[in-house]
Symmetry: C2
Subunit: 481 residues, 2 copies
Amino acid sequence: MTDVSGFVDQIADKSDDYSQWYTDVILKTKLADYSPVRGCMVIRPYGYALWENMQAGLDARFKATGHVNAYFPLFIPESLMKKEAEHVAGFAPELPWITEAGGEKLEERLAIRPTSEAIILSMYSKWVQSWRDLPLLINQWANVVRWEKRTYLFLRTREFLWQEGHTVHRTEQEAMEEVLRMLDVYREFAETELAMPVIRGRKSDAEKFAGAAATFTVEAMMGDGKALQAGTSHFFAQRFAEAFNISFLDMDGERRFAWTTSWGASTRLIGGIIMMHGDDSGLMMPPRVAPFQVVIVPIFRNDDERSRVYEAVQAITRDLTGAVRIHTDWSDNKPGWKYNEWEMRGAPLRLEVGPRDVDQGQAVAVRRDSRAKESIPIAGLGQRLPEILDEVHRSMLDRARAFRDAHTWTVSSVDEIAEQMEKERGFFWAPWCGSPMCEGAVKAKTGATLRCIPFEGGDDKGLCLVCKATADQTAIFGRSY
Amino acid sequence: MTDVSGFVDQIADKSDDYSQWYTDVILKTKLADYSPVRGCMVIRPYGYALWENMQAGLDARFKATGHVNAYFPLFIPESLMKKEAEHVAGFAPELPWITEAGGEKLEERLAIRPTSEAIILSMYSKWVQSWRDLPLLINQWANVVRWEKRTYLFLRTREFLWQEGHTVHRTEQEAMEEVLRMLDVYREFAETELAMPVIRGRKSDAEKFAGAAATFTVEAMMGDGKALQAGTSHFFAQRFAEAFNISFLDMDGERRFAWTTSWGASTRLIGGIIMMHGDDSGLMMPPRVAPFQVVIVPIFRNDDERSRVYEAVQAITRDLTGAVRIHTDWSDNKPGWKYNEWEMRGAPLRLEVGPRDVDQGQAVAVRRDSRAKESIPIAGLGQRLPEILDEVHRSMLDRARAFRDAHTWTVSSVDEIAEQMEKERGFFWAPWCGSPMCEGAVKAKTGATLRCIPFEGGDDKGLCLVCKATADQTAIFGRSY
């Protein structure tokens, strides 16, 4: 590594000030920026290109599981918002209201959607009449707004981008299958595209979505041992169908209320990518969603060298188009500066092409994750670069899993959590009796919330970590974003 | 044509009540629906799939011309909105305002974006410092809101979806080149993807975008002879750069204000597709953006036939995947009903597959535009169907051009417009002196507005259609949506 320019050392030390490191990384890599609207951010082109790749990955999976996209209004009339009591109670404190429009005071206030159950289900009540209309499997890509008091780039901003699937089913079983299917789509997407290992589980009643009968989650561990909810899938039973009157004529001629679900993932996943994979040098983009998978740094000292290198780079770019996403940094900066810049911005692979390389018909690939260098014949790049990118992906996923394992403890008492948390944060697996009192006691004593009751790996007998009553389930506790 | 079920005749007669026909088509083909929010519509899956294909076509063209996407806040603080005087004057009457959020009254009202110049350019003033930062070429896909009094599905709704490009340039010439380049992208997109012929031209001062130095437009003629603005591209000179303080250190060391542009196209294009191509049977989807390019209607009378047909359809679908977008209608309805349904919904090609067809190793393709039937060997579908779709595209484009030509008149006086308009609407080419007074007189007398001063085909000498003064330009007048 050539050590030039002071670019990288502008990022705060990760172990010293994790929160400042996170903000520095986002601003300096130009993923996002603060905006003149308090609590709202701008997603800059480099961050948005990442989001586009994530969208493409999710969207393809939604379509492969039979869903179609649609678009519903941004506004929700107050009366509609109030139809499901728990739902409005959960979201009301965070709603922004339109009270005036077109120069007039509105007769009824309009909320900006914090989520779209109310508006979407009111349409479904019109569209669903017979069992033949079911299942109804619609997803929406949209902006939503929640007026948070404390905001944090990507993780908690007043406006954010997301997708929300809203489905209607004939039977409870079909609805529950959908809920779990989409939860698994999130798990598989996170692992396959983001190199992000997650734990699937059920939320406690205290942590579930306002109005849901049950909420399921995929939880990821960030680089500071805190948990991030990476996607959620909600089972509403017939609650919303009753509130919004979604009923259908069943096969047997009886009119019945339908069963509904919703599921969502958002731009906060970008925060998760940064926190899970980043290091002291900056970002580390998971190869499959990286805006640029390979950044070519041309090296030359004079016009003659430049034109030889230019020719080689053009040929490489032509060859690799369609196989990998390439960017060539032709800026006026020195190669060493570019190395640092693209390490900071997390390009999975850097490809150095200099005059000597051109003479030898090769280029030098440098991995962002391991810094490993490899000389590759130019003719073999089309085969080798995708292979290396796959290796980088696997290695990032393994590293994240190993980190999580090293920061996971099985405990039997809340005191153990408190003790360990003074040293290091992480996930704490413990028997839990199911009582919100005990869940609250853990939070009061340690700051850790109940992340989920995991689908796999938990014990079904033990003594509750707080009250010591018999516990037939294991819960995972941790501090969270 | 088998004439079954009363589906199609639920659509109003196009020549009898064009406006009702338009609304019927949208609702009955499930492109969109009314929502519980007055003036806002729901874009249903069939309409949204069309929009996704249109987005893909535009987005690829924006990227090929060097643009990247980003996302900016939905909200614009009042003080920011007011920075460019003409701009706010133009949009203020249509703004909705957030006055309360998170349970508190806001200190400063927030507008919902009607367009994003104010918020985006305020960011650019921070990002642009040197000539090396230019050009800055960013596009945004977003929802925007304009509180219109009279709304109309797709053409004028309070919320709509669009893209807005916002670019910054070092010189006037580069900015003007961008404005015209993107106008031509809209023209080429409309013709190539939507089979929609358009006329490029400049707007008069009375019709230009609030705050623009010049607005350019592509104008399309609808099936009732009215004009639809299908896309606009704005040249701002240095007005917004001065208002938002976007200046840069130029190559010669001088600090200068930059030159900005913006350009947009929206879901109103969907209204244009319906009105340009639709007929008494309903929609006619342009093949290249049609949600389903080919709809297979399986024909069978018993289980044995069904299973033979099913097998053939599966094989056809496998073969054609990737080549054409296919949907097979396996619903319980009769074939004749399906024929009508998919004519109404505008699938460019219907493919009938019955047991006799299977025996003969063929299928029957029926074109939506001409109703022409063609038996095609199943093994040859992969080659022939894309060919027919191209023929349909060309034929739709030709038909739309011929319709426009037949409804275009060169006139020399406003009376001629008034006279002709009593018979039939269309485009009126006439010499115009450039005075807003004369432009206003045409509108007052005929209801026709000045659509554009066309780039091509106009005369550069004549006498103004109103005042008879020397006119060095031709303008196109017409009623518009």
